[in-house]
Amino acid sequence: MLGFLCGEALRDLVRAGWIALSSVLLIALSLLTLGGFWMFSTNLGGAVARWREQLRIIVYLKAEPPPAAVDALGGRMRAAGDVALVRYVSKAEALQALKRQLGAQAAVADSLPTNPLPASFELTLAGTASTPAATRALVERLAAMPEVEEVQGGTEWVERLTQFQRLLGLVGLGVGGVLALAAILTVTTATTLVLHARREELDIMRLVGAPEAVIRLPLLLQGIGQGLFGALLALLGLVGAYRLVRPRLEPLVTLTLGLPHTTFLSPAAIGILLVGGVLLGAVGGWLAKGRA
């Protein structure tokens, strides 16, 4: 029976012709858009995660602490949050670092009457503290310490990137969603047109006492078929585009985002796109099924 129902659904798909093809293409386009944004967002997310791992917080001190107090102060800073590593940079070390950076112009630093650079602590965060909210809370606790003059821990730009990543995901969802809606409507139209073409068959099926499921299931299967074809087409498009663009884009991505290599969609994401396609088609077929 299932073979017969699938055969009927396939026969209907062929009968629907161009309109069925346009539904398949629309589903493919919506999933291609969604998958494209998803892939970009995933790679950007990877870069953000790497940057977050390498995040440092610089705590500038009001006055250079006596050598005996450095460890205790460092210990208090470590206790302020999930800090993995604390490194003390004395005023003299800071000046040496400046001289190294100035290179040939290092003599400029020698002409200063006193060393103007403050002593500081460099804090490397533990993985658990690397979320924007946890980092912000840590910065606030460090800034509240009486010995601390200023805390510089650039979390803002990482947060901005995270927000951009989220925005990208939302734009992908939005555009993909609009296209998905159009795809559902096209599947419904395609299936409804087939339904009108099959009106005589449906009448006969009803008159001979065919169960309603047998009458309506081919319509649902037809929608699912269109969704599955569309999803496979979208994945094929994504793989093709990725293979084409990757050799040209990867050096640029490595340079700008610091990612050693780009990644394609995960197997789970591929599965979700496939299921998404099937669902889009199924919803379209189900809407048409109601008109049978």
Partner: protein
Amino acid sequence: MIELHRVSKVFSVGPVKVPALSDVSFKIDKGEFAVLCGPSGAGKTTLLRLLYRDEVPSGGRINVADYNVSALPRGRVPELRRAMGIVFQDVKLLRGRTVYENIAFVLRVLGTPRAEITPRAFAALKAVGLSARAQAYPAQLSQGEAQRVALARAIVKEPALLLADEPTGNLDEGIAAELFELLKDIWSRGTTVLLATHQAALAERLSRRTLVFHGGRLVKDAR
């Protein structure tokens, strides 16, 4: 097999009520061959549509086989229709399928095991004398042949009851008489047959029980 008790049917056309059947009562036993006779508009088709639950009566009670048709829920209508075969004047054959496929289609949608489909479809075609036309398309058939295919399609599921609505309406007298003979053959194998026709002379020649309708009323029940 069929029992109607004070059945009426009124169609509403906007605010206008059009009575199609009024106070109709009769009983047809299992294995009987009965003819519904009357001019066009007498209510024969409406009566058949009530029997296969294409319409719901406005009043009265209808029983077909073990089903109380007048109170049958929609979900059980397919069950009722599986117990009967129906033949129409306009044959309703699927144009894109061959004669064999038209008949096999019924068995397929009813979930008949694959191995049974071909032998049963050909047995039905043989019963109406059309085995040789199995691969023809409806457009290649004469009206008489098309009506015989419709009959084969109705009997292929071996129904207990056969309803035939003006099956000879478009046929000349000779071919109509042949079709009536086929109906008698089917009846002689135990199927209850209810035939609706406006061809009174042909009905008379059948020498079967005749229920005469006029203006939506049963005016004569001649055994």
